[in-house]
């Protein structure tokens, strides 16, 4: 577990500390109530809490077969999502873990099935089949290397060798491939190539777990004794990779900042996102520019004000964060001129702004985003003035969900932030509206900068396909499966 800072909001760090000591069930209940009470809010803390909880779930759950584990994770995930459906990262992390477990299981199964023969080919193919960019899970590559070394067939995986042994699982997997028909073509492409010598074989792409058990029924007893432990270790390792990714996402995004910011620029941003601040700080090491911050009153203005005035990072998202205590400068300390303005001034100042950088709460598969209220008018004003809009977001915020109605993703906050309860007459007679988030459609965004690079909004669906398995996308809604 990463070292804990003295938190600004103790809830996340407190929860993480309690995780190891408590039984899993009470940890789950604990997180559910924290989510429900909004004691853990914002994307990153939610993601971190979910990942750590799932780590415990996997570690402490006694399982004999991979189906049960998947079922268990789905179960926990469903409960967490129900607790706070608008924190979309919770679902994202659960899906990532599920996908990772499925990948591990597939590798494991292939290894298993090919015990008797030298069939590194199918093994290799399977391990590469779902191979997203290495940032997602370098783990898979390391395991591949392991299998290579143990089975000693070397690198000549494309040489047609004895495929007889490897074929049965592939063929059965073909039958089970049908329900998961929505697989992206890229995955099967490699498979087609690698399986070229045997035209009958089709990509093992995504074997559904139900078949896994049937398939390996013969070797089940063997597996339970030998490989369950390895698999468990691998799954845990995989979750830790995700946790690491959460920690490093901001740094990886920030590392790209110099490619987007030139000197003497005027950049407009809003609210108090830690990702954006890091991004700008990194650029400030080399370049001098001006940052205009819209305060996003009334829900986030206090954090914004704190982040511009104090030299310690006290924004809600940042301080209860686990890692990187070295982040301790405010933008103005770094030598950037910071201009704080109200949200209403956006149109007036937009004609002098070179770039708009938006922070986000969640990104949805169509390239749109959910961000702090006011983001939409900023993006629109930017479009009117032909100012490029850049969205800075970790991949973990990218959600495979694509809701029919975007209003359903918008959370409404406390109207008492706008009209105080002291104004008795006003409270009686007025309907007060305080949305916390805005939906920004993809056509208002020019560029997404994630921890795996910069993408056009139209490309995001590909990254979704790389990171989530099709069968996991609607796992929380059984009626859609």
């Amino acid at each position: 577990m990463p070292s804990l800072q003295a938190g600004y909001a103790p809830n996340l760090s407190f929860y993480l500390k309690s995780l190891k000591a408590q039984p899993v069930e009470s940890s789950i209940e604990n997180l559910i109530s924290l989510l429900k009470r909004r004691q853990i809010t914002n994307s990153r803390p939610c993601a971190v809490a979910t990942a750590h909880l799932l780590l415990q779930v996997v570690a402490k759950f006694r399982w004999t077969n991979i189906d049960k584990l998947i079922k268990r994770i789905q179960d926990v995930g469903r409960r967490l999502i129900e607790a706070q459906p608008r924190e979309m990262v919770v679902g994202n992390i659960v899906r990532r873990v599920l996908g990772m477990v499925r990948d591990e299981a597939k590798e494991d199964r292939n290894e298993d099935a090919s015990d008797s023969a030298s069939n590194s080919q199918s093994d290799r193919g399977a391990s590469h089949s779902g191979g997203p960019p290495p940032t997602f899970s370098p783990l898979r590559f390391s395991t591949t290397d392991d299998s290579d070394s143990t089975e000693a067939t070397g690198d000549d995986v494309f040489e047609g060798q004895s495929h007889g042994a490897s074929r049965p699982p592939l063929i059965t997997s073909h039958t089970s491939y049908a329900p998961a028909g929505g697989l992206p073509p890229q995955k099967s492409m490699f498979q087609l190539l690698s399986a070229n010598p045997s035209p009958a074989s089709t990509p093992p792409g995504a074997q559904s777990p139900q078949n896994t058990s049937n398939l390996n029924a013969t070797s089940l007893a063997h597996r339970i004794t030998t490989s369950t432990k390895d698999l468990k270790a691998e799954v845990i390792e995989g979750i830790e990779e995700i946790v690491d990714e959460l920690d490093q996402a901001d740094d990886r995004i920030a590392a790209q900042s110099l490619e987007y910011i030139h000197s003497n620029e005027v950049i407009l941003t809003h609210s108090s996102s830690k990702s954006v601040q890091k991004f700008l700080l990194e650029a400030a090491k080399k370049r001098k520019f001006t940052v205009i911050i819209a305060e996003s009153y009334p829900n986030d203005h206090e954090a914004t004000h704190k982040s511009v005035t104090r030299s310690i990072s006290t924004d809600a998202e940042g301080a209860d964060e686990l890692s990187t205590p070295k982040f301790s400068k405010s933008l103005s300390d770094a030598g950037i001129t910071v201009i704080l303005m109200t949200d209403a001034t956006i149109f007036a100042i937009m004609s002098r702004v070179n770039k708009v950088i938006l922070a986000t709460h969640a990104v949805i598969a169509n390239g749109g985003l959910i961000a702090a209220a006011g983001a939409r008018i900023i993006a629109k004003a930017a479009r009117v003035h032909r100012t490029p809009v850049i969205v800075v977001s970790g991949v973990y915020k990218l959600s495979p969900q694509y809701p029919f109605e975007f209003e359903s993703l918008i959370e409404y906050g406390d109207p008492g932030n706008i009209v105080r309860y002291q104004d008795g007459a006003l409270v009686e007679n007025l309907e007060v509206d305080n949305p916390v988030y805005d939906y920004v459609p993809p056509d208002l965004v020019d560029l997404y900068i994630t921890n795996i690079g910069a993408h056009a909004p139209s490309y995001l669906y590909r990254i979704v396909a790389d990171h989530y398995k099709t069968e996991d996308i609607n796992f929380d809604k059984p009626e859609l499966q």
């Binding site: 005035t309 910071v338 209403a344 100042i349 004003a381």
Partner: protein, 444 residues
């Protein structure tokens, strides 16, 4: 100028110490001279004792004044005092340079606003002092309200004015009474466009006064003219606009409006009185929260009101059927100068294809043009953005942090479908024509 002649000996007689100079950072021209005299006197006194003077005044607000002072001193008092001034100019750079907290884009607009009536020149009418305070604490804030209050002040000035011997009202009043008072009001807040129009009209009226009529007759004539102007250009205009707007509101309408405009409020109330069934969405923003006042008034009148801040605008614009906006001024190129944030509302309305209707008296029309909101604007004191008890309280100590609080923004003409004036409903392209017709009658 007689007033400074009197002031100078008085200052000499008092022989003020340098410490007295530190107390008054904001200086008018007359005071500046007085201070200069006093400084000179003090320096002479100390030069006799052989001590160099280092007046270590607060460097912040008077910098401009001090520079002027030094220039003038150099020209008037000659080289004799230069050696004495030497240590002073050496001492100046030692003080840490005070960071300019004004935003670079708006630096041309940033003037220190007067916040108190201390240091008011003695010939300023008390009513002007009250009005100045009301301007600077936004008790009188709207363009129309400020226009009315200013005209009432002018009436007061005319009535309390006595023509000095060997001159006439026509020759003396404008330069010696009207202009100083206008300058005094500007030191609290810049003039609104409507005030500018009214002032030039009033000066025209004064110049029209015949020399032959008696002073009391002339005063009465001017007061009547002011009353007439108020009645024609504001009272009746508002009635006409409210009547036209009421016609445009239908049953079932959802009217979205931004901040507070007196004429929008009046129109909505009138429509409600006439029995129209409609809802209002009042959008508001920091720091003035004028919309809260509007929402309260409308809700108390029994209208169904929804209140939200500008960040909730995107969520509510779809529900609206019409957008009614008030104006600070209509520029000659059809753009609307109005409370900061109006442009965002108009933009969103345009995007959602809702009609944007501006209610504006012709007295707010101007022949000036605006392309952006930066060249022509008013910058309110940045400290108004600070929430008491909030993190921003110490913002002046944070290096390189600036707060910016502009008052107006310019809405592009293409967002505006219609301008309702007392002379009828016109498109934004007709603003210059209407302006010529009503505000510059002599051109015709």
């Amino acid at each position: 100028m007689p007033s400074t002649d009197q002031a100078a000996p008085a200052a000499k007689a008092e022989t003020p110490t340098p410490s007295q100079q530190l107390e008054a950072p904001k200086l008018s021209g007359a005071e500046l001279k007085k201070q200069k005299q006093a400084e000179k006197a003090a320096r002479r006194a100390q030069a006799v004792q052989g001590k160099p003077v280092t007046p270590s005044g607060p460097p912040t607000p008077v910098q401009k004044g001090e520079q002027k002072q030094q220039k003038r001193r150099g020209s008037t008092s000659g080289s004799r005092e230069l050696p004495v001034r030497q240590p002073e100019s050496n001492a100046a750079p030692k003080a840490p340079p005070v960071e300019d907290k004004t935003v670079e884009f708006f630096r041309h607009l940033s003037k220190p606003h007067k916040k108190t009536i201390t240091g008011t020149p003695k010939d300023i009418h008390p009513a002007a002092q009250i009005l100045g305070m009301q301007f600077c604490n936004y008790a009188i804030c709207g363009s129309t309200a400020r226009l009315l209050a200013t005209l009432e002040l002018f009436k007061e000035l005319v009535q309390s004015y006595t023509v000095p011997p060997r001159t006439t009202l026509k020759l003396h009043f404008t330069t010696h009474v009207l202009n100083p008072h206008i300058g005094y009001l500007i030191s609290f807040r810049p003039l609104s466009i409507s005030m500018g129009n009214a002032i030039s009209w009033f000066k025209r009226e004064i110049s029209k006064v015949s020399i032959d009529i008696s002073d009391s007759e002339a005063k009465k004539m001017l007061c009547d003219a002011i009353d007439m102007y108020i009645r024609e250009r504001v009272t009746f205009a508002d009635q006409a606009i409210a009547a036209t707007t009421t016609e445009k509101i239908r049953d079932g309408d959802v009217i979205l409006t931004y901040a507070k405009s007196s004429i929008v409020q009046r129109s909505l109330l009138q429509a409600h009185e006439e029995g129209k069934k409609f809802r209002v969405i009042a959008v508001d923003s920091r720091p003035l929260h004028e919309g809260k006042n509007l929402a309260e008034t409308l809700a108390n009148a029994g209208i169904e009101v929804k209140y939200c801040l500008i960040n909730g605008l995107s969520h509510n614009i779809q529900d609206a059927t019409k957008v009614l906006l008030g104006a600070h001024a209509m520029m000659s190129n059809g753009r609307l100068l109005s409370r900061i944030g109006t442009a965002l509302v108009a933009m969103e309305a345009n995007d959602a294809e809702k009609p944007v209707i501006v209610l504006c008296e012709t007295v707010k029309f101007t022949d000036r043009v605006a392309l952006d909101s930066i060249v022509l604007n008013e910058i309110a004191p940045a400290d108004e953005l600070v929430i008491p008890g909030g993190a921003l309280e110490g913002w002046r100590d944070v290096k390189k942090l600036q707060l910016c609080n502009p008052m107006y923004d310019v809405t592009p003409a293409e967002y505006i479908q219609m301008i309702v004036t007392e002379s009828g409903c016109v498109p934004p392209t007709s603003v210059p024509v209407l302006h010529r017709l009503v505000n510059e009658p002599e051109i015709q």
